[in-house]
């Protein structure tokens, strides 16, 4: 008790914050006996995982060889020659070798456009927006399909691998976003016809698996077209993916719209703004910012769902890896399947992780300005 009174008489100071790596270690990893046990268990699991991966991918792996026989050694790790020999196939599908520069140029222009648009420090955002959203799709379309400037036509049946994955994902993302905004606004519209058709569409699409949507786009769309009109298989898949993703995304965006207080719309009303101005200038900028994590979640899901186009006969990255594993006897070996799937998984992971990190960066930037 007497010590308490002594303390009370002294000036109360903030206890010194721990500093330095030793203090950090003590506070975060070894603060108690259970925490210490957890730290060692975690270290042990990490060691096992990393050691296993290094052992499989490097120490026991085969790096050279011209067919599967090279990998038919006992206790083998990854069979990397399978990847290096098939690399072009995995990236471009059966795109003619002489024309691969067109696919590469498309990738490059897309990367430049996206980088200009997405990296905050790059100047000239309006120019990049026009290029990426209006000019680039036209360039990409003619580059990839050909038929002008003496470029031979490459039918979409020959596209494959990462090229198809990216085409489906990027077109799906870009097309589904405006669809989703219109559906989300439509679902909150005061006009019954707009509202009920939006609800009907969203609920129908959400109630159906993507595979069913793709089958419907692939089989049913041609039935509505006049006889003799062919409809590209890839295009059908794109429509299916865009509509499917649009319906999901619409519900994410609607969640954001609901979070905007009524007073915001009233303030817009009182200033004489029209409906498109209120939505475009006041409501959507706030609502979309709130649901960035949900939007990116949808985009990541869409990116991975592109592998389902396999079932209507398109070979995306995973599809073409799978096909090479199962139907190329030259590369049969015990570790070919694992190597192929790990490679495909890693490529998917790079893209999805990139999207996730980018969204976190954007969230931080947007919330930095207007919060207290």
């Amino acid at each position: 008790m007497s010590t308490n009174t002594n303390v009370a008489e002294q000036e109360v100071r903030r206890p010194p914050a721990g500093a330095g790596p030793v203090a950090w270690l003590h506070k975060n990893l070894f603060s108690s006996i259970p925490n210490t046990i957890l730290t060692f268990v975690g270290l042990w699991i990490s060691y096992k995982l990393i050691a296993g991966v290094v052992d499989w991918a490097i120490i026991r792996a085969v790096f050279t060889g011209s067919d599967g026989d090279a990998c038919k050694v006992p206790d083998v790790g990854a069979c990397w020659p399978f990847i290096t020999h098939k690399f072009d196939l995995f990236i471009y599908g059966r795109y003619p070798e002489a024309e691969i520069w067109r696919a590469n140029l498309t990738f490059l222009l897309g990367a430049i456009g996206l980088a200009g648009l997405m990296i905050p420090a790059v100047p000239g955002k309006p120019a990049f927006a026009v290029f990426t959203l209006l000019v680039y799709p036209i360039i990409a379309y003619y580059l990839l399909t050909g038929g002008i400037f003496g470029m031979p036509i490459v039918a979409t049946e020959r596209w494959g691998g990462l090229l198809v994955t990216l085409v489906v994902a990027v077109v799906g993302i870009v097309a589904s976003f405006p669809i989703a905004i219109l559906l989300a606004l439509g679902r909150r519209s005061k006009l019954p016809i707009v509202r009920y058709s939006s609800i009907g569409f969203i609920e129908f699409v959400r109630g159906v698996p993507l595979i069913t949507m793709l089958f419907m786009a692939s089989v049913m769309l041609p039935l509505f077209l006049p006889e003799g009109v062919t409809f590209d298989k890839l295009l059908r898949a794109l429509i299916g993916v865009a509509l499917f993703s649009g319906a999901y995304l619409a519900e994410v965006i609607r969640g954001g719209l609901q979070a905007i207080p009524r007073g915001q719309i009233e303030a817009g009303d009182a200033l004489g703004l029209s409906y498109p101005q209120k939505m475009g200038l006041i409501v959507l900028p706030q609502a979309l910012k709130l649901v960035i994590p949900g939007i990116v979640n949808s985009f990541i899901a869409l990116f991975k769902d592109t592998s389902l186009v396999l079932i209507i006969g398109l070979f995306d990255l995973l599809g073409i890896v799978q096909q090479s594993i199962s139907s190329d006897p030259k590369w049969f070996s015990p570790s070919t399947p694992t190597t192929g799937y790990v490679f495909a998984g890693f490529i998917f992971w790079i893209f999805c992780f990139g999207m996730s990190r980018y969204s976190q960066m954007i969230e931080r930037r947007l919330s930095a300005g207007d919060k207290r």
Binding site: P261, Q264, A267, D269, A270, L271, G272, L273, R372
Partner: protein
């Protein structure tokens, strides 16, 4: 002559002098009769304070003037033009009637300057440079030009409400509506907002103010209106209204809010 038609059309001479005219305005929320036979004439340049117990319909009444609320019977004329369901006309009238809300309703994702420039740029099609000039002049008038590049969340309540007033003024409105502008403020910030409103009144703005600030009503209002249960019970110049209220309901209300 048909007497009904005579009531509907305001005479040209009268409408030229009137900022707002309400004739037998009625409104219901479902079954609840929120406005009953409201008759109100507001002359240009007149300052009106509307008071009354909560739920009396005072906010609803002024929100009908820029059609944030729709009336179901009767006629409302703003600057001689009748409010109908014609959307273009509603937007035109709204752009000429400024409104200040209890909860400020600034746009949190825009800077103060962008909040002020938004409507002049998009509704009036004013070039950005000119809109900024107008915005800065009004920010100076409400005495916070130094906050122009901040976001609303960084300002105090009183500052936010002054920005909201400046935002409405940027549209160069002919009428200003205030819906309990000081009710959401901390007590020490009420005065700075009332000062701005008093300044506005001295410059001859037509104002309709829903408020419980009776000091403001005494000092600024040309006329005080007391509403209860959806009706205008009594209206009079402030000295008459506060010193010799006629109706019992007014007396009871004044006793409640003045004797605490």
């Amino acid at each position: 002559m048909d007497p009904a038609a005579a009531v509907v059309e305001p005479s040209a001479a009268r409408s030229a002098a009137l900022a707002v005219e309400m004739r037998k305005v009625n409104k219901w929320y479902g079954e609840f009769h929120v406005l009953r036979d409201i008759d109100l004439e507001v002359s240009k340049g007149e300052r009106i304070v509307v008071c009354g117990p909560s739920g009396s319909g005072k906010s609803t009444m002024i929100r009908c003037i820029n059609r944030l609320e729709e009336h179901q019977a009767g006629h409302i004329f703003v600057e001689g033009e009748e409010l109908t369901s014609d959307l273009r006309q509603i937007e035109k009238i709204r752009s000429e009637v400024g409104m200040v809300f209890q909860s400020f309703n600034l746009f949190p994702h825009l800077t103060i300057l962008d909040n002020l420039c938004l409507a002049p740029q998009w509704v009036r099609k004013m070039p950005r440079a000119e809109a900024e000039k107008v915005a800065m002049s009004y920010l100076e008038r409400v005495k916070i030009p130094d906050q122009a590049l901040k976001f609303p969340g960084q300002l105090s309540g009183g500052q936010q409400q002054r920005v909201a007033i400046a935002r409405a003024l940027c549209m160069n409105p002919r009428i200003m509506l205030f819906d309990e502008p000081t009710s959401a403020l901390d007590p020490e910030m009420v005065k700075e907002v009332l000062d701005v409103m008093t300044g506005l009144a001295q410059q001859g703005m037509t104002m309709l103010v829903v408020t419980h600030e009776m000091g403001f009503a005494r000092a600024v209002a040309d006329r005080v209106i007391f509403m209860d249960r959806g009706e205008i019970v009594e209206q009079a110049a402030p000295e008459v209204f506060f010193n010799a209220p006629k109706s019992e309901r007014t007396q009871a209300f004044l006793a409640q809010i003045l004797n605490h």
